[in-house]
């Protein structure tokens, strides 16, 4: 045939991924963030092994003890070991945050894609619905769901997912709209690809990247929402330890035992740092505009 074009660069996708990871790890902030996040994940997974005491073991005679060799973080208002509660709290907080963010992300992704790629009228209806959801007061909404489903971790996840998916959907929709008329989608339409094929094979993988970054940055936000709902008494069911409920319990004794708020709040601050910087690091390295250029 013709002069064949020689293989110009030996970069395989796998190698690219490796390179990416190395680049990610090279940024000092991202490295610290990764360590933090990994730390929290390990803490959450191995809570039963890491926690020195049971997180629900009440000991009213030793309540609100300041930090000591025995109780590194002190004890809470019911005499439970705060460190153990914080460790188990990581489990609750991360479960709630990650699951609800994942659910919200999935719903947002699906609805955003449909709104963006679907017919104009459907888009209009969905956007209207997203906007309305966004302006609904959270408490009323939370109350409604909680009374229907009963308080608990599952409900909390639903409340958070339901209140946060509209913003993801909007993001995905905007991106889908931008991609809808891109050449490769047109090319697929010329090949007679079905709408489902275009949405799931061609659009989805291209919009999901920024979403994942956003989701990772939203995880601490959700942990704080959980804390906020705890304040309204709509959080997890006692005695389940969660960072939010620890903060709430801490608030009631903030004068006499400030260490409760400090040790309850510290992991939240650290998790925020971890997830935010991880998300930012991911964004810096995954953003198509910053995509590593192919060396010639």
């Amino acid at each position: 045939m013709m002069s064949s074009v020689a293989e110009a660069s030996p970069i395989t996708p796998d190698r690219q991924r490796l390179v990416l990871l190395r680049a990610l790890l090279a940024a000092p902030f991202t490295r610290v963030a990764l360590i933090l996040v990994a730390g929290f994940l390990v803490t959450a997974i191995f809570a039963p092994w890491l926690a020195p005491y049971s997180p629900v073991k009440i000991d009213v005679l030793h309540k609100l003890q300041p930090p000591s060799a025995e109780h590194w973080f002190g004890t809470d208002h019911l005499g439970r070991d705060l460190l153990s509660r914080v460790i188990y709290g990581a489990r609750t907080a991360l479960t709630i945050a990650m699951v609800s963010v994942a659910i919200a992300g999935a719903i947002g992704l699906l609805l955003g894609l449909i709104a963006g790629y679907g017919p104009r009228w459907l888009d209009a209806i969905l956007v209207l619905a997203f906007d309305s959801m966004n302006s609904l007061p959270m408490i009323m909404f939370a109350l409604a769901i909680i009374t229907v489903l009963g308080a608990g971790t599952g409900t909390l996840i639903i409340v958070i997912a339901a209140t946060s998916f509209p913003s993801y959907a909007r993001l995905i929709r905007a991106q889908t709209l931008a991609l809808k008329n891109s050449d490769y989608i047109l090319a697929e339409r010329l090949l007679d690809a079905s709408a489902a094929r275009i949405i799931f094979i061609h659009l989805l993988p291209n919009v999901v990247g920024p979403l994942i970054i956003l989701l990772s940055m939203d995880i601490p936000v959700v942990i704080m929402v959980e804390a906020g709902l705890s304040f309204l008494g709509l959080g997890v069911r006692p005695p389940t330890p969660s960072w939010g409920s620890i903060l709430y319990d801490g608030y009631t004794s903030i004068r006499s035992a400030p260490f409760m708020v400090i040790f309850g709040g510290l992991p939240l601050v650290l998790a925020t740092l971890g997830f935010t910087f991880l998300g930012e690091g991911l964004r810096d390295y995954l953003d198509p505009r910053l995509q590593l250029r192919r060396p010639a």
Binding site: S135, A227, L232, V261, G265, R289
Partner: protein, 316 residues
């Protein structure tokens, strides 16, 4: 422009209707009645019924919604189930406090957060950038009640510089301003971090654009590039964020309002929800949604002012 305005307002009205429909659906689902909340065992069945009737909750839901909007059109948002005071009055008494608080907090957050964001872009990669990064992200996660309590302890109890509670004497601007300092700071703190981060992120993106290189190629000083050439563009996503944020500040200032005993919308609405004072809930939500919708419209217009490309879309 006009067509755009009409369209946005029309959409806003639709959102109002949808939100209220959702609210009525929620009321339908949520158990509890005001008499029992308020009086516990003293609430007699007769009284419960009386209040339910007074709130119109014995009517079919669709009828309640129609009635609500019919009344709202005439400026009547209903009446507090207990005090029988017009909801509009209740809202109007609480709203200024909240608006002032929210706007002050946001103004403070912008005034500090935006320069911080710019600074960390100008010093990107340095220790200063890192410090600003850690501080601003860390501060996002500090619960506002912690800030509130400790600033109370310091400035009100120990130093006695600022009043501990309330919104200041009516008509006395100075005392109102003094009463605003701590709550506004407590709300603003997290926002400073958020805005600084946001500005930095979008600024970093802008700084990679070719027109920044053009400005550099003409040897413009870095501060001018950042503050004039990049900020004008980078601030745009921040505006949308802040617009949505103001909406949420207004309703989520509850904790801060609770600690500083500032009567505000957040408290009005949470109290009304927890006491099932539905006319107040509905009226307040309506007004808050209207404000939220207006803020988003205002933000869009502001963005159009800042970005001539968008402006032309509106003209078309």
């Amino acid at each position: 422009m006009l067509a755009y305005a009409v369209k946005r307002i029309g959409l806003g009205l639709l959102i109002l209707v949808l939100v209220m429909v959702a609210m009525y659906a929620a009321v339908f689902l949520v158990p509890g009645d005001p008499a029992t909340v308020a009086l516990g065992p003293r609430a007699t069945p007769e009284l419960k019924r009386l209040l339910i009737e007074r709130m119109g909750l014995d009517q079919p839901v669709w009828w309640q919604i129609v009635e609500f909007f019919r009344n709202a059109l005439t400026g009547n948002l209903g009446y507090d189930v207990w005090s029988n005071r017009p909801v509009s009055t209740l809202v109007m008494e609480a709203l200024p406090n909240t608006l002032i608080l929210g706007l002050t907090a946001l103004a403070v957050a912008l005034l500090i957060g935006v320069p911080l964001g710019c600074l960390s872009v100008m010093r990107r990669g340095t220790a200063a950038d890192a410090a600003i990064g850690v501080l601003s992200v860390g501060v996002i996660a500090v619960p506002s009640f912690v800030v509130a309590i400790y600033s109370l302890l310091l400035f009100a109890v120990t130093l006695r510089w600022l009043p501990a509670i309330g919104a200041g004497e009516a008509g006395d601007l100075f005392s109102q301003a003094r009463a605003l300092v701590m709550p506004a700071a407590a709300i603003a703190l997290g926002w400073i971090g958020y805005i600084a981060r946001m500005v930095r992120a979008s600024m970093m993106e802008v700084m990679g654009e070719p027109h920044i290189r053009t400005a550099r190629s003409f040897g413009l000083p870095e501060w001018k590039i950042v503050s004039k050439y990049a900020l004008r563009i980078a601030i745009i996503p921040t505006i949308s964020l802040v617009a949505v944020g103001l909406g949420s500040i207004l309703s989520s200032a509850v904790f801060v309002e609770a600690v500083f005993a500032r009567p505000g919308i957040g408290k009005l609405i949470t109290d009304a929800v927890s006491t099932r004072n539905y006319p107040v809930v509905m009226g307040t939500v309506l007004i808050m949604t209207a404000i939220y919708v207006s803020i988003t419209i205002a933000a869009d217009l502001l963005i159009a002012r800042l970005d001539p490309r968008v402006r032309d879309v509106f003209r078309g």
